[in-house]
Structure formats: C-alpha cells, structure tokens
C-alpha cells in the first residue's frame, strides 16, 4: 500500500522517483508533470524540481523534462489503457485512481454548446498523493461533540487547498463511525455516517469499496453530485452524520439546510481562510447568515505542521492552538 502510486508513472519517471530517499518519498504531496517542461515535486508546502540524476534542485534548467511519449504513456496508464471510460472525468478535468490519489489534468478543451465536453492533447498532470493519517482528527473531535445529546455538531471546516481538509474529514468519518473510548468523555457509541464523495477523494472508492478506513458504520455515495447525493442520503440511508467535501454552490447550501432540518448533523468543508470571507459567497453566505453551523474549524498548515482554530456559531474562538502544534498531519504517513 505504501507508495503504491509509484506504479502509475512511466518507467523513466518512476526510476527517478525511486532514487529519492524513502522518508522524503513518504512526504511527497504533489508530482506535477508538464510535457517538455521541468518535472516538479511538492512536499511540506515547498516546491522542487527533479533533475535527470534523481536529485532535487531549485533550478528549472537542470530539471528532467518528460517528453511527449512519457505523457502519452502516463495517460495510458492512469486511464487503464481505456480513455473512453474516462469521459465524465475528462469533462471535469481530473481522474481519481485506485488508492484515492487524484490526478488533475490540463490540456486543450473541446467545447460543445458552450460547455466543456472533453479534454484533448492532455499534457499537464498534477498527481496529488492521498494519505491516510489516522488520528489527525483527535484534537478536533472533542470540540465537535455535543455530549448532552450524544450527537455531532454541524461543522464547517475551512482551509485553503492543500491544507488537509480531506484528510481531516476522512479521519473524522472514521472516528465518528467507529465510536471510541477516551478518558475525558468516556464511552462514545459509533454513529451512522454518510459520505457524499463527489470526487472519490474522501474514501478513495474503487468499484464501490473504500480504499481508506472510513469506519465500520459508514456508507459512501461515490462520485455523486453533492447536492443530489445529500438528498439521496437523507431519504434512503438515514445517516446520523452527513459528510461532504468542498461545498459552495447554491444547491449544496439548500441540501445542507435540508439535512439540518431533518435532524442530521452535517460535517462539511469549504475553501477559504476566514469565516468572514464566506459571507459574500452566494451559497455559503445564507448558511452563515442563519448561523446554521455550530462549529467552524479553520485549518492552517505551515512548515511546522498543521494547526487549527475552532470557533462556535457566534464565531467566537473556542480554541487557539498555538501555531506549530502538530496534529499528526503535514502529510507524514
């Protein structure tokens, strides 16, 4: 399972990556391949180029440049030699492969009736390595528990991209679903968790089976549009807690409202740095206005590690973790 994503690259790139020291390989977050341009590797929030002899450099000129054959080969490998099975993915611009890793694609778009129908001449790949970090939610979960009523509070997780929202959601799902025992609050029963996994990122499902541990009482609607998926969940799967990644559109907000009124706890994430800046967004603004969320978790990742702040529904701070307090995050597996 560890570093299984290496199999995905064409031989030459794979050989270069394998020359990296193993601990570093475990930290890699993104590998960016652009045809005819330097091979880029990102980890711990910094970028590097990979040179032809397998060393890291900051100079684009020294870097290894994948050629046309290699980008074709990469596309062939990630599509399992069958690009025609990826029509929907090509329309959306990314492919999720077994293991939950996500590959963003860049190329020339083909339009049809004003909308993007297809991507062709794909020459840019951003491979985001997904990692399971069990325990990353340990610090957050106690603040989300409503002990009196044995439920999870409606929570919105905020952070810019690449700061670990999905990893946190995944671990929250696992812990909420499994229940647990801690000295502070005693025994906590597991709850029914429903994940609407539009981009197959939270659970990394393959043929409906999650690649990550998301808990024993968790149902996943894989690849389902969030708004529709949340409604389906509410109607048919009766979850106690509904988890969705990156909400933001009007329909999402409506579905969240629906869930809240149905008595289902919602744990969702959104792009953003501060609660205040969400107010102006069309979908999320109305949710904030009605103070529907009881907890806001704001993630921030620096070189020192992952830190978080937790606010209540009035946006008062409950916890100000000192920057640098590690959550076990920061991508170390």
């Amino acid at each position: 399972m560890a570093n299984d994503w290496l199999q995905l690259f064409p031989e030459k790139v794979r050989a270069l990556l394998k020359r990296l020291p193993l601990p570093l390989l475990g930290l890699v977050e993104e590998i960016r391949i652009r045809e005819g341009r330097p091979l880029e590797i990102n980890y711990s929030g910094k970028y590097h180029f990979l040179s032809g002899n397998g060393t890291l450099t900051q100079h684009p000129g020294e870097a290894y440049k994948p050629d046309r054959d290699e980008s074709h080969r990469l596309l062939d490998l990630i599509s399992n030699h069958s690009l025609y099975t990826m029509e929907e993915e090509l329309r959306k611009g990314f492919i999720t492969i077994p293991g939950g890793h996500r590959i963003g694609l860049a190329g020339r778009t083909v339009l049809s009736a004003g909308g993007v129908e297809h991507l062709r001449d794909i020459t840019g790949f951003n491979v985001r390595i997904a990692r399971e970090v069990p325990g990353v939610a340990d610090g957050v979960l106690p603040y989300l528990l409503d002990k009196g009523r044995q439920r999870i509070m409606h929570t919105l997780i905020l952070s810019p991209p690449q700061h670990g929202k999905t990893t946190l959601l995944r671990d929250l799902a696992r812990q909420i679903s499994a229940g647990g025992h801690s000295q502070r609050e005693g025994f906590r029963q597991g709850m029914k968790v429903g994940i609407v996994d539009e981009r197959s990122e939270i659970a990394g499902s393959r043929r409906g089976i999650p690649a990550f541990d998301v808990g024993p009482r968790t149902d996943i609607l894989d690849g389902c549009p969030k708004a529709e998926g949340m409604m389906m969940m509410i109607r048919s799967l009766s979850p106690d807690v509904l988890i969705a990644d990156e909400i933001g559109r009007m329909e999402d907000a409506d579905a969240v409202t629906e869930a809240l009124h149905a008595g289902i706890s919602v744990v969702a994430s959104a792009h953003g740095k501060e609660v205040a800046e969400l107010v102006s967004r069309p979908g999320l603004g109305s949710l904030l206005e009605h103070k529907l969320f009881e907890r806001y978790v704001i993630l921030h990742r620096s070189e020192a590690g992952l830190s978080f702040r937790i606010l209540d529904s009035q946006r008062r701070g409950l916890l100000l973790a000192p920057p640098g307090e590690r959550l076990g995050g920061g991508g170390h597996a």
């Binding site: 199999q7 080969r73 062939d76 490998l77 599509s79 399992n80 030699h81 069958s82 690009l83 025609y84 099975t85 029509e87 090509l90 297809h118």
Partner: protein
C-alpha cells in the same frame, strides 16, 4: 514389396499435404469471422459497458474459440499489471506469438495492427468509428478468403493426391 510400401507412403504424404493446404483455405474465413465477432463484442463492451480494455479483451478471449482465445488472453495479460503495456505493444507481442497458429494472413494482421494503435486512446464515438472501419476491412478480407476457399480448397486436395501419384510414377 518395400517399393510398394514406399509408393503408398509417398501418395499418402502428398494427400495429407493437400488436405493441410485445403484446411488453411477453409480455416481462414472461419478465423476472420471469429475475429469480426470478437471486435463486435469489443465495441459493445466499449460503447455500453465502459469496460476497460484489458478486462474487455480478457472476456472476449474467454468467449472465443482457439486460436483467437489464446490471442486475446495474451493481449489482455500484456496490458495488465505487471507488464502494463500499451494496446499497440500488447497486440504486437500477441500477434508475434499467436499469428502462426491461425490461418489468417498479413492483410488481417495489418488491419488489427492499425486498430491497436487507436484502441483506448480516444472517446467512445471515436473508438466506435475505428472499430467499424476495421470491421469493414475484415469483411472484405473475409469475402476474398471465401472466394479463395471456393476456388482452391477442393483443388488442393486433389492436387496433393495427384502430386503424390506423379512422384510415384516418376520414381518407378
């Protein structure tokens, strides 16, 4: 006595060679027909089931009869882990290994090679077009192969026998 036995053997050999040749003529249209059926199934797998190529080819192989069965299963294996070869490469390797045991000729091989270059590299409608083109070409080859069968199958059988007889007469 020994001479007579030799003569019988020569005639027998000639006859068998003739039958072998006749079978080639009879098998070729049958093999092409099998290939056409296999490609039609492949098109269905691509258009309606969105089956990835390695799996689709494996299924088709299992449904086909030898020698196509071995051919498609090899292609599927070459495309799966750990080899993970491209369709073009996998077809080339499988053709090198299996083409000799089929009765098919260079024309069919070329059609399949051209198809393998585009298999899996585009969207469904494009795939369908390429397969349709290959099918059309294969059908033409099938017609030619059937004509050849009609013309040469019986002839090569009698020719084998007659050739054996000729050799016997010449030797005596």
């Amino acid at each position: 006595m020994l001479k007579l036995l030799g003569a019988v053997l020569v005639i027998l050999a000639g006859t068998l060679a003739g039958f072998q040749l006749a079978r080639q003529y009879a098998d070729r249209p049958r093999n092409i027909r099998g290939l056409i059926a296999a490609l039609q199934r492949l098109e269905t797998e691509i258009m309606y089931s969105y089956t990835p190529l390695p799996e689709a080819l494996r299924r088709i192989g299992q449904q086909s009869r030898e020698p196509l069965k071995g051919f498609f299963v090899t292609v599927a294996e070459e495309m799966s882990t750990p080899h993970d070869r491209s369709a073009e490469e996998a077809f080339r390797l499988a053709m090198d290994a299996h083409w000799r045991v089929t009765a098919m000729k260079a024309a069919e091989k070329e059609i399949l090679r051209q198809l393998s270059c585009t298999l899996g590299t585009s969207d469904r409608s494009n795939q369908s077009n390429h397969i349709a083109l290959a099918l059309q070409q294969l059908k033409q080859e099938e017609t030619v192969a059937r004509e050849d069968q009609g013309k040469y199958e019986k002839m090569s059988k009698s020719l084998g026998l007659l050739l054996g007889a000729l050799i016997v007469i010449l030797i005596f």
